[in-house]
């Protein structure tokens, strides 16, 4: 029996099957961050109330940067969790929210009036802080240690276990 066709078929099919299997295993909604283990990109942001914040001011204390939006439903889901964590860790971890250019002061105010605020929220008016952090679909949360290094990124709404594990990395 001529085995050549079988061998040629296997040479073509096996790499394709392996490639497809690996591709199927990738969650395309989660962007692997090259920033893990690197310094958090610096920023200066203003709040809708006119307050300003600079990343450098927050160094020396672990930091949680949460990118969210008033129209984002998964952000509603994780909100109570962040509220509880921010309350429990007052003084030992800073929690900062960043909303995108398309959000408005009124919408953010309605959101926080209804659900409460777990920390100050700042307005990324041109979207450049989101780009510098590699933000994709909201919400996304970055965990920065006291030295200013990003230790963890979580894409999507936080759950209690994920939040606890991520906080352990920066405390």
């Amino acid at each position: 029996m001529n085995r050549l066709p079988l061998i040629i078929g296997a040479v073509i099919a096996v790499p394709m099957i392996v490639f497809l299997a690996l591709a199927l295993d990738i969650n395309h909604d989660v962007i692997e961050s090259p920033l893990i283990g690197k310094p958090a990109p610096g920023f200066v942001l203003d709040s809708f109330e006119g307050d300003s914040i600079e990343l450098g001011e927050l160094e020396g204390t672990p930091l949680v940067v949460n990118f969210w939006a008033s129209y984002c439903q998964p952000c509603v889901y994780e909100h109570p969790l962040l509220t509880a964590a921010a309350r429990d860790l007052t003084g030992s971890v800073n929690f900062v929210g960043v909303v995108p250019p398309e959000d408005t002061a009124e919408a953010v105010d309605r959101f926080t009036s209804r659900l409460g605020a777990w920390g100050p929220t700042y307005y990324d008016s041109d979207g450049r802080v989101s780009i510098a952090y590699g933000v994709g679909k909201l919400p996304e949360t970055y965990f920065v240690d006291a030295a200013g290094t990003i230790q963890h990124k979580h894409a999507g709404p936080l759950d209690p276990q994920t939040l606890a594990t991520a906080l352990e990395k920066i405390l």
């Binding site: 050549l4 066709p5 073509i12 990109p41 995108p100 398309e102 510098a132 590699g134 994709g136």
Partner: protein
């Protein structure tokens, strides 16, 4: 002695200041500070629009399904395209701009992955399939030709003889 000490201290202070400035620049959200000197001269007008859209069509929109930032109307894509435009306008090259976006998004940002490492499969698999398919067809044709010479003529003769005998009957 005092002069040498003063010069030495001043030099040390300048070096520390430069090092600190470099550290701050490296961490800045400002891409121009992060990227350093532009590779070329500033551009504007149609050239600027053309290059922005050309590069934008090669960059993946992070909030879409397989669309480029040039094709997506999402705010995130608009912000990214705006930043690409600003960088081209300042004279940064396509390579420099992609390098900046790759710092935060990694290779994900490229709609067309680089032809290196594991990505080579994407480039080589179609070529391997074509070459393999060609070799398969050639091998089959050769084996048929080799097996078929003579025997098919004999088969045909036998068949013709059978037809003739049936017609005679």
């Amino acid at each position: 002695m005092l002069i040498r000490l003063t010069i030495g201290l001043t030099t040390a202070l300048v070096l520390v200041a430069v090092a600190l400035a470099a550290q701050v620049e490296g961490r800045s959200v400002d891409p121009m500070a992060a990227l350093g000197t532009p590779a070329g001269p500033p551009i504007e007008g149609d050239d600027l629009t053309e290059q922005t859209l050309s590069l934008g069509s090669k960059m993946r929109c992070p909030v879409c399904q397989g669309a480029s930032i040039a094709d997506s109307p999402s705010q995130q894509a608009v912000s990214m395209l705006g930043q690409v435009r600003d960088l081209f306008a300042a004279g940064y090259s396509e390579t420099q701009i992609l390098e900046y976006f790759e710092r935060s998004y990694g290779e994900f940002i490229r709609l067309q992955p680089r032809a290196r490492g594991f990505n080579l499969i994407v480039w080589l698999a179609p070529l391997a399939a074509v070459l393999g398919g060609g070799a398969l067809v050639a091998a089959r044709a050769r084996s048929r030709a080799a097996a078929g010479t003579g025997s098919s003529a004999e088969d045909l003769d036998a068949y013709l003889e059978q037809v003739r005998s049936e017609v005679r009957e």
